[in-house]
Symmetry: C2
Subunit: 222 residues, 2 copies
DNA sequence: ATAAGGAGACTAGTATCCAAGTTTTGTCAA
DNA sequence: TTGACAAAACTTGGATACTAGTCTCCTTAT
């Protein structure tokens, strides 16, 4: 009794446009026409419309009646909001995770940390990024709140689109790994205060990057 | 140069349906047909479709191709997620608010508390509920994060729809007021720990109600 | 030269038709 | 009575024609 969900044309258009926007292939301020996009994808206007409204609720497009819809620019307010929510959720999940932390969970996190170390030694940045992702996800999963990870991801993605503007592929991997260790240590020792402040410091890492982008690319902001 | 946003038919249908669903006039599991709703509102199917997709992203409707769209039931997972996110955001906002707290802000919160006290004395529950709302909002606004209030509201509404099933119009106003005072005291004294734990206790108030509803109305859950 | 005005080329919203899949229903046979 | 099976009556998704508002640019008059 599978619950196979048919993939609609709308889905396809949505996903492609979403990718193009968050990867900055389509820059903020770009005007998108329904008929134009429909032609490009070889579909009718209807699925494009559906995709547009979805992207609108994602805050990626600005849609106004009888006006050209365009790719939404960044706004410092929304970026800060997304960062606040992510910060809040991560801190609370750390809190909940600590309540149920045990040797098994600690071992799993330690295993991930070991792999991170390996990746840093090998200078394998892609692997490290994947492990970075897993590290954060592990805290959610082991803490018993996997769904919250999705919420956090949504926030993260909004900031990621912005940070693509700064090309520093920061080989700060060592520093990041050190912070991960600090967080893990806080959780292992059951020190909520320490674990949370480590996480807070870790998540604040992007502060300067964002401020820098705000100065260097003011035209992409509303 | 006003930015008047034209109200579309889609908006009207969306708002009406939204109200009917969150107020439980339309119960979970109810099947909604596009043509049916279109007839009822005297409009064509298209705006109804638009409204449906919006309600789908609100997680109020389950839409599957070629199958009847129905009002989504509750799921304990989603309820708990909404509560976690709200809890997380409220705690973080309290944190940020404390950083900037001063006599002026304290006075404004105190003014609200005085009005709450008045409402309780008068037994004016509607007024008290409005002031309750304002109390929480004040912390966001005074703390400098008004947008985060909207995020919290979204979470709250998901839980509110559930809690409508329990008719206890709790005249626990006094208890709530006491908790509000505790939170305000924590903020005024700058004791983050105390303010947050007060807020945590305050938001946990619904725990039993939700568990109770989960037991008494299992048919409304997925 | 400049400003007002109008035509036309855009825009998105709505209505309606058709396609494709699901569910219900009713008939007929065992 | 009950089962199978076919047909009809649903469902939503997609395509397209039409409506109505907005913007741009060119003409025309001052």
């Amino acid at each position: 009794m599978e619950d196979i969900v048919r993939r609609t044309t709308t889905d396809a258009v949505y996903e492609k446009l979403h990718d193009e926007i968050v990867s900055l292939e389509i820059l903020p301020g770009t005007k998108l026409s329904e008929t134009e996009v429909a032609r490009r994808f070889g579909v009718s206007r209807q699925p494009v419309r559906n995709a547009f409204t979805r992207l609108g609720t994602d805050e990626l497009l600005v849609i106004r009646p009888q006006k050209a819809t365009e790719v939404r620019g960044f706004s410092m307010e929304r970026i800060e909001l997304a960062r606040l929510v992510r910060m809040a959720v991560e801190l609370e999940v750390v809190n909940r995770a600590i309540q149920v932390w045990d040797a098994t969970r600690e071992a799993k996190l330690a295993e991930n940390l070991a792999l991170q170390e390996q990746a840093v030694r090998d200078g394998d940045l892609p692997a490290f990024h994947a492990l970075d992702y897993d590290f954060h996800k592990l805290i959610y999963v082991l803490g018993g709140h996997p769904l919250a990870f999705e919420v956090m991801l949504e926030c993260k993605q909004k900031v990621d689109r912005l940070c693509l503007l700064s090309l520093e592929k920061g080989s700060e991997a060592e520093a990041i790994l050190a912070e991960h260790r600090e967080i893990a240590a806080g959780m292992a020792s059951g020190r909520l205060e320490q674990a949370q402040s480590s996480m807070r410091k870790h998540l604040s890492r992007l502060d300067e990057t964002i401020a820098f982008i705000h100065e260097t690319h003011p035209n992409y902001f509303e």
